[in-house]
């Protein structure tokens, strides 16, 4: 039987309005979630969906309005002090540390907040700096680091306490492709080293979530709308064919396609430089594509490429949330 690392029951968090008369804003709405030991669990959602609120509650930074949240079997409200030694967190774009300290000193300082003996801390810091590619900058002062280097340092800081459960909130933000790949590999290895460890990851990079996560929960407007393995989530859109289409630049014709019978959802982007428009559309059946091609011809639009795609997490996300992950609310 699997042991639950994180468990929430009917977890709700409301924020008061700015003025007394303003209604409360529900950031989390009766969330039920179980994350198991050894799991790399992804949390996906658009901005303002409730991801950070959930992480804040699980890391004991925020109290739930109602419901329950357990981390490593301890209640976040009543047993926060028992949770703290077991967890750590890395957030994208965080500005932890002090400019006057070097990279090593900064990570050492945080290791001391977890009571790690100096010798152990030093060994871990050396190893972590090697992994994130900061070994040559170990003695560089923090204020001299670039954004990417700083994020690498944050990454090392999060793991220096060797937590049982780590919360990674957009941890790859600001990292270059190579560094992000290295960090992803490190996360996987770190988890494999000890089956009692757990990672909860939020990310905007769906490919990353697909590659890394054992299970993924999609959250929207404070509610979990789906929770399963990436492959099972993709089954949600498997029956509906997805086409990727590139045409010469469209003007006002897009609405016509959106409203066309058989088009379930459609996202598009214009490429001004190339004067083209790219679509991704999910159709109720394959035959609808013939109708679309006919309409394109009627409008004298040239097809540059047409491809039938395998469903991706992005397709699942659009189906469940109604927009791309990076799109803001209109």
């Amino acid at each position: 039987m699997q042991t639950e690392s994180i468990k929430t029951e009917q977890l709700t968090r409301a924020y008061k309005g700015k003025k007394k008369a303003d209604p409360s804003v529900i950031a989390l709405d009766q969330v039920d979630l179980s994350v198991y030991e050894g799991e790399l669990f992804g949390l996906l959602g658009p901005n303002g969906a409730g991801k950070t609120t959930l992480i804040k509650i699980l890391t004991t930074l925020l109290l739930p309005t109602s419901g329950k949240a357990l981390v490593a079997g301890f209640d976040v409200d009543k047993e926060a002090q028992k949770i703290k030694p077991l967890i750590n967190m890395v957030s994208g774009g965080e500005e932890s540390g002090y400019g006057i300290l070097t990279v090593v000193e900064t990570i050492w300082m945080f290791s001391q907040f977890y009571g790690i003996p100096n010798k152990v801390a030093k060994e871990r810091i050396d190893k972590l700096l090697e992994v994130v590619g900061l070994k040559d900058n170990a003695k560089t002062k923090v204020y001299k680091l670039s954004t990417g280097m700083r994020q690498k340092m944050n990454f090392a800081r999060g793991f220096v306490s060797d937590p049982k459960i780590i919360f990674l909130d957009e941890p790859m933000l600001g990292l270059d492709v190579e560094a992000a790949r290295t960090c992803r590999k490190f996360i996987k290895n770190w988890l494999n080293e000890n089956p009692t460890r757990t990672v909860l990851l939020t990310t905007h990079y769906l490919v990353e979530a697909d590659e890394l996560c054992d299970r993924i929960a999609i959250i929207n407007h404070g509610k979990i709308v789906a929770c399963d393995t990436p492959d099972n989530l993709k089954l949600l859109v498997q029956r509906e064919p997805i086409f990727q289409l590139e045409t010469t630049m469209m003007q006002n014709e897009i609405d016509e396609f959106k409203q066309m019978a058989g088009v379930i959802d459609l996202t598009y982007s214009h490429n001004i430089d190339k004067s083209t428009t790219s679509f991704r559309m999910r159709l109720s059946k394959e035959e609808v594509i013939a109708k679309i091609i006919g309409t394109l011809t009627k409008h004298n639009l040239k097809i540059i490429s047409l491809e039938k795609r395998e469903p991706s997490l992005e397709d699942v996300f659009i189906k469940l949330v109604g927009k791309k992950i990076e799109e803001e609310d209109a």
Binding site: E94, E95, E105, Q112, F113, G115
Partner: protein, 272 residues
């Protein structure tokens, strides 16, 4: 219990280290922090000389100028510190770590005390040499005792402010400014506080530096005893009481602030 003590001692040292290292790595601050205060201090010295005030008044000013460093350090380096750390996102990392936040405040106090003492000692030495201050030490033991007790009470007060300032959020800079200047008057930084009258002096004694300065002046300048607000032995007792009360309140306030912040969701909201 033992593990908890070790954890918190490590946290105290780690946080103090930032300030101690900072003092060594940017030595340019020593010039700014020691020479500049001498200008404002000199103005008072020349004023007393111009009106032919008793010689010990010059010593009063130098001592007051020396202790100014601690008051500024408390306001900007202790009281406002958690707020600055909240805006940078660092405070959230303190909160999720297992050590006590009081250990962090203690670390700030230890590191800040070290850094401020360099400035204070430099001001004291240079001031004494330039203006040829003559001391008539009544009691070294009481002098050191009063200084240390004042510091504990003062930093305890800084810890209390750290929690309050965190809740007041963006107003913190105005509050810090508001507290900075009036205290120079009410605590008698450049004159014996007794001049303000019993009621004002009693009220001003809520600031540990008021009694600390008054007591240290009495211990350092024999003739100053007559100008003392109260007996320095009594001041030792009051300061001791302040130490206990302020440290207790600091811990209590911090727990209340943390609970309230977690409940309302304001604890980690940047720029709030």
């Amino acid at each position: 219990m033992r593990d908890s003590i070790i954890l918190n001692l490590r946290a105290v040292w780690a946080r103090a280290y930032v300030r101690i290292v900072g003092a060594n790595r940017e030595p340019s601050w020593i010039i700014a922090e020691t020479l500049l205060p001498l200008f404002s201090l000199s103005a008072y010295v020349f004023l007393y000389k111009a009106i032919d005030a008793p010689a010990q008044f010059i010593g009063f000013v130098i001592l007051g100028g020396t202790m100014t460093a601690y008051w500024i350090a408390i306001l900007w380096g202790m009281a406002a510190q958690f707020y600055w750390e909240k805006t940078s996102g660092q405070f959230a990392l303190y909160l999720i770590a297992p050590m006590s936040r009081m250990a962090i405040l203690m670390g700030m106090a230890v590191g800040g005390f070290f850094m401020t003492t360099i400035r204070a000692v430099a001001t004291l030495i240079i001031g004494c040499l330039i203006f040829r201050v003559e001391f008539q030490v009544v009691s070294w033991v009481y002098l050191i005792l009063i200084f240390l007790l004042s510091m504990v009470a003062l930093y305890g007060m800084g810890m209390m402010f750290a929690s309050l300032f965190l809740l007041w959020g963006r107003e913190v800079q105005h509050l810090t400014n508001l507290l900075q200047e009036p205290i120079y008057l009410f605590s008698g930084f450049y004159f014996p506080v007794k001049c303000l009258g019993t009621w004002v002096s009693s009220f001003a004694s809520l600031i540990p530096l008021t009694l600390g300065l008054d007591g240290m002046r009495q211990c350092l300048f024999g003739q100053a005893k007559a100008m003392g607000f109260m007996s320095f032995k009594l001041e030792v007792l009051i300061l001791l009481g302040m130490d206990i009360v302020f440290l207790y309140l600091a811990g209590k306030m911090h727990r209340i602030m943390e609970y309230k912040g977690k409940k309302e969701g304001t604890l980690t909201t940047r720029w709030q």
